[in-house]
Subunit: 342 residues, 2 copies
DNA sequence: GCACACTGCGCAACTGTTTGCACAAAAATT
DNA sequence: AATTTTTGTGCAAACAGTTGCGCAGTGTGC
């Protein structure tokens, strides 16, 4: 047990050559004789030599690893995005170190600090809902560490970003609701600090305006992600004098908890109220009624982010203009909005 | 941009002392004068010095990182277990590198190899469903690299493991079904190679036997995890001449797809057939009817695994006898098994 | 006045790998 | 035969940090 890994030195000593020669032989350097090379290859195979990645990273002053910081991996979007990142990163020879900020800015800062000192090659980040200060990102940029945002991005930092068009997605969803005859449409948004929630709010407002519907501010709620917060905000909507005919939610989880509040109030879905979620989590097609929702290309999002990051890492000498990739999302229409058109 | 991180050497040169002195001053070594220490601390703060973890890891011949290998992070159990691992590991100063085997043994082997060369401090692993050869684990043990299994373990390898009592959990579930008056009880198992599925099968069989019910082999199915496979096996059960009165499934996903097959056949749940799942995924309380299921302590499982691993890492000189931690699971009774007792 | 202890700091080795340079021997060219 | 080129190999430095040891210089005790 506890046998040390075979090193170049081990091979060199057994063969009575220098470490440098062994290193070059393994790389098939032209200046090493065929005879020496073959001896080295043979022994390396016998002793199961594998280069020590840690030593290599140290020498290159950089780990072959990418730091991935997401709010929570149990959110389906992040779990799938991580698969996309892993897929591409591994193919390019990078490991990924996944960290959860748990929606805490302090945690996010600590993670980034920790990973900087570990010399990760770059970062792929989706902001915590709390994050309202961006010093830790500008710090990355000052140090020249590659950075890509995805999904929850940071507009004040000039970095690569991969997102969907949240404005348009929510516009389309509201448009769909209007087309089924709804006019009193509510928006159950996420925390007010979450930018993408506000982008969706804008899309919602624009769609209403474009259809000649005045926005009723009482129909716009901002809730936290926990069940209790959603329920209490949803109750404000459905127990009011004029419950909405439709509700667009910021996420499927919020939509589902909103459905619970509706059922509690005795409202039938979709007859009394239509509901639209966001993310197309697998659960949405299993519940009753199946939920109309917006499918985000999580895997592709992760993969694209990884591509952008690896491009930055491998061209660290040249300055690349930050790019904004907007992926398309799809409205998946299911029973929860299945009203007869008027 | 691209400013190098401050190193001990930078501090040493500015202060005209040796690197060794700076290193010791930062560690408050008694042999360094107060004056020197203060000068070092001041400059270190000014230049934002942070020790380079990569260099430290290199020197210690080991990364301060733990390799975590799971089948898929989208499975709720693994996502929660990862949170538990991260929670404990971070508190102890370790990062975690999460990799998905995607249920492939080849991928699992490749990941382990890759992480070995990166000199991770240890591994926390849940087997892929395909894994039937354990050389890559015995190899870890020969190299003296700490290893902990959780959930899907490997009985042939003598390592720490954290599991629930799958036999008992499934026994209890079947017992519950019998207590509600069911006698024709089916088992929708996972792939035949997955050990825990077979443990649950044994619990199922024992519970039937203890209640004087003969096991009907036609009521035992082994399916893959994809929806189509589950549906086709479930149909064999429900379209037969004598559909079962109850079905115990290996996972919530399998249970839910089995429910779909039941509904398709016109069977009402729980009136015609009771269903029990496994894992208590959040979706189980949202579907109609809410699913009776077995709650596994995912977070605790991960945390315990991390504890055992860190213990191994930090006592690598002494040999610790591998330990088997069995955590308790809980049967959560919901509507899907709510029949009147006979 | 001499031995001894203590104080404050630097030297050097070590971790595994790569790579520019040097240098000898062999081969090729004058 | 003398020079140049080519070939095959080794030396040493570099990456950032830690740590045993040594070595001055100062202080203490008898």
């Amino acid at each position: 047990m506890n046998k040390r890994q075979t090193t170049l030195k081990d091979l060199a000593e057994k063969l009575n050559v220098s470490v440098a020669t062994v290193s070059r032989a393994l790389k098939d350097h032209p200046r090493i004789s065929q005879k020496t090379k073959e001896a080295v290859w043979q022994l390396a195979a016998d002793l199961d030599y594998e280069p020590n990645q840690l030593a290599l990273s140290f020498r290159n002053r950089q780990m072959n690893a990418i730091g991935v910081v997401v709010p929570k991996i149990i959110y389906h979007l992040y779990a799938t995005a991580i698969s996309g990142i892993e897929d591409y990163a591994n193919a390019q020879g990078y490991n990924i170190i996944i960290c959860q900020s748990n929606e805490s800015m302090e945690r996010e800062k600590a993670i980034i600090n920790e990973l900087i000192t570990s010399q990760v090659a770059g970062f792929i980040i989706s902001l915590s809902s709390e994050t309202n200060n961006f010093d830790h990102f500008t710090r990355l940029q000052k140090k020249g560490i590659p950075l890509v945002f995805f999904n929850r991005e940071c507009e004040d930092v000039d970095a690569d970003r991969v997102i969907i068009d949240n404005f348009q997605a929510s516009y389309d969803a509201v448009d769909h609701l209007i087309s089924t005859g709804c006019r009193r449409i509510a928006y159950m948004g996420g925390p007010a600090e979450v930018q993408i929630s506000n982008h969706r709010l804008k899309g919602y407002q624009k769609a209403l305006a474009d259809n000649g519907i005045t926005v009723d501010e009482r129909l716009v709620q901002h809730c936290e992600f926990d069940k209790e917060s959603v329920l209490s905000h949803a109750r404000r909507l459905v127990y009011g004098p004029q419950p909405p005919e439709a509700i667009l939610a910021f996420s499927d989880q919020i939509a589902i908890n909103t459905m619970i509040a509706c059922k509690e109030r005795g409202l039938k879905i979709p007859e009394d109220v239509s509901i639209v979620g966001f993310n197309n989590e697998p659960v949405t097609e299993l519940i009753e009624p199946p939920l109309t929702t917006i499918d985000q290309p999580g895997f592709l999002m992760g993969k694209t982010a990884a591509e952008l990051l690896v491009r930055q890492i491998e061209n660290s000498d040249t300055v690349i203009k930050p790019e904004k990739r907007i992926l398309s999302s799809t409205l998946i229409i299911r029973k929860s909005t299945n009203r007869n058109r008027l």
